[in-house]
Amino acid sequence: MEHSFFHIENFSCGYPGFKLSGINLSLEKGSFSGIIGPNGSGKTTLFRGITGSISTMEGKIFLKGKDLQLFSLKERARNMAIVTQFTDTDQISVEDYVLMGRMPYHHRFQFFESKKDIEKAHKYMQLTDVFKHKDKLMTELSGGEQQRAAIARALTQEPELLLLDEPTSHLDITHQVRILDLLHRLNQEMGLTVLMVIHDLNLASEYCDQLVLFDEGHLFTQGTPEEVLTFDTIEKVYKTPVITRTNPYSNKPVIFLVSEKMMKDSHN
């Protein structure tokens, strides 16, 4: 069978007490996909399984047609970068932090970055608009700036696949849109394949070409936002009544919540 760019086949992984199983997922090169699902449905677990933080129980993952297990750790890091959910960092300057993205390219005895490494780090810091903060400590940046620096670090790895775990959580709407616009631009201009976990269904609908919906450790459904974000599916998985409409501007589906208060009022 011809494999697509990134392919997950009958994949299971997990911890004692929680298991993610039977995941089948394919990403085309240059696609922009989102993983959605309620809290505890296994989205972050899938990421940890992909990156090898927890061991695979069953199934295989292929990147560019090659079994991910056969990649060396450094080779993996040159092909795939991850922006994790929590950025807890040491006392480290933004520039040094971003430069760490070059580590997968260093030899064992190479202690210092080359000129090329520094140029690349600067380039991606400019692209993500954190260059002006390069001498500040990571801890001195705001949440949105930290997130952008984390993306700059991931880009400095020059990966083909970028994984992001809730890149917009705890950001206000301005910063949410800025981060997602940036990711969209990287996707369009550099052909970067993006797979991100995202909680906000409306943002997911707006930005992603493909959505994957998780529910209780299983893949519930996948497809375009129009296919996935239907009234029935959302109610089944999230157990919350919603109304779906279409965004008049982008023609993408939009979800409206129906609160208990509203329901009471309408029954009276």
């Binding site: 940890r48 990156t51 090898g52 933080s53 060396s72 750790l73 450094k74 080779e75 993996r76 890091a77 040159r78 970068a81 991850i82 994790t84 807890d88 960092t89 040491d90 006392q91 480290i92 300057s93 040094d96 932090y97 760490m100 993205g101 580590m103 997968p104 260093h106 064992r108 005895f109 202690f111 210092f112 790895q157």
Partner: protein
């Protein structure tokens, strides 16, 4: 880089000072001349410096360097700035080993080498216990390890208290003296071994300097950057234990060095391990050689335990630096 060169020259200066100061002062000039060109083999000064002071100063450099290096490595893998070589029960184990030897009189029947040997064995029994208890299914849980170490350390020190409470006062004196730590080591072979091992570990640690830096972002992110964190942490843990085990068996328990030296360097120069590893070694050496000078001159002709000096001076310098830093911001 400049910082390292400055520290290297400071270390040279500290060594020269350590050789020249004592009950009988020799001018630094003639010390340097003696080091470079040799001296009159029979002269009093030559004997004093080559036989008595040089081994002591060399041991100071080796132990100070090794303890700080072990401290900085452990703080790196635990991502906890309060860990030091002795937090993990290494000193407790070594002290217990020595206490057992003294109480059973083994150092009298088998020879004085039993003291460092039993210290080393004690330290490694503890390390082995901590390591196996916190390993599960091939992976080590680093936070578990820290707690296990602290607990085992308590058990070891209680066992030692028991021995001290029940033994004769002669033995008690021997144990207390050993625990307080000293750079007075008659066996030059042991001193050479300590120096060689600590320098070798310093060189080896640089093979792991990149993963150590990556670990600053956490274990998971270091993995994402392409480092096998499981292997890196194990190897570094064993290296640090080896350093601490040797130090404690040769010179007893000299506290605070492994905690304070890396801290001071972090405050002054940041947390880049490419600098910190060598920097800690050098500054640790400087600090211990100078502390020893103070320890043996301040109440001359008697001598204070060096742990007293490292604790007081180290703690004060650290507090001072921290308040300066706060004012600066």
């Amino acid at each position: 880089m400049l910082g390292l060169l400055v520290m290297l020259s400071l270390l040279m200066a500290a060594v020269a000072l350590g050789l020249s100061v004592g009950e009988l002062n020799v001018s630094p000039g003639s010390v340097v001349r003696m080091l470079l060109f040799g001296g009159h083999e029979g002269s009093m000064e030559y004997l004093l410096i080559s036989r008595i002071r040089l081994p002591r100063v060399v041991l100071g450099v080796a132990v100070g360097g090794a303890l700080s290096l072990a401290g900085v490595i452990l703080q790196g893998i635990y991502r906890n700035p309060l860990v030091e070589p002795f937090t993990l029960g290494i000193s407790g184990g070594a002290s217990l080993g020595v206490a057992v030897t003294i109480v059973m009189g083994l150092h009298l029947s088998l020879g004085s080498f039993m003291l460092p040997l039993s210290g080393f064995i004690g330290a490694f029994v503890i390390i082995f216990l901590v390591y196996t208890i916190s390993s599960r299914r091939g992976a080590i849980n680093i936070q578990n390890m820290l707690l296990t170490g602290v607990m085992i350390s308590f058990i070891a020190s209680s066992a030692m208290m028991f021995l001290m409470a029940t033994t004769s006062s002669d033995n008690l004196h021997g144990i207390v003296f050993w625990i307080m730590g000293s750079l007075d080591e008659p066996n030059t072979g042991l001193i050479k071994l300590t120096l060689i091992v600590s320098l070798a570990v310093l060189v080896i640690s640089y093979l792991f300097v990149q993963p150590l830096n990556a670990l600053r972002l956490g274990e998971e992110k270091a993995l994402h950057l392409g480092f096998n964190t499981n292997v890196v942490i194990r190897v570094l843990f064993i290296l640090a234990s080896l350093l601490a085990g040797i130090c404690v068996s040769v010179s007893g328990v000299i506290g605070f060095v492994g905690l304070i030296i890396p801290h001071v360097l972090r405050l002054l120069f940041g947390s880049d391990y490419r600098f910190l590893l060598a920097g800690s070694f050098l500054l640790g050496g400087i600090f211990l050689v100078l502390s020893d000078v103070v320890a043996r001159t301040i109440i001359s002709p008697n001598e204070l335990p060096i742990g007293v000096i490292t604790g007081i001076i180290g703690g004060l310098v650290f507090l001072l630096l921290m308040s300066q830093k706060r004012k600066g911001k």
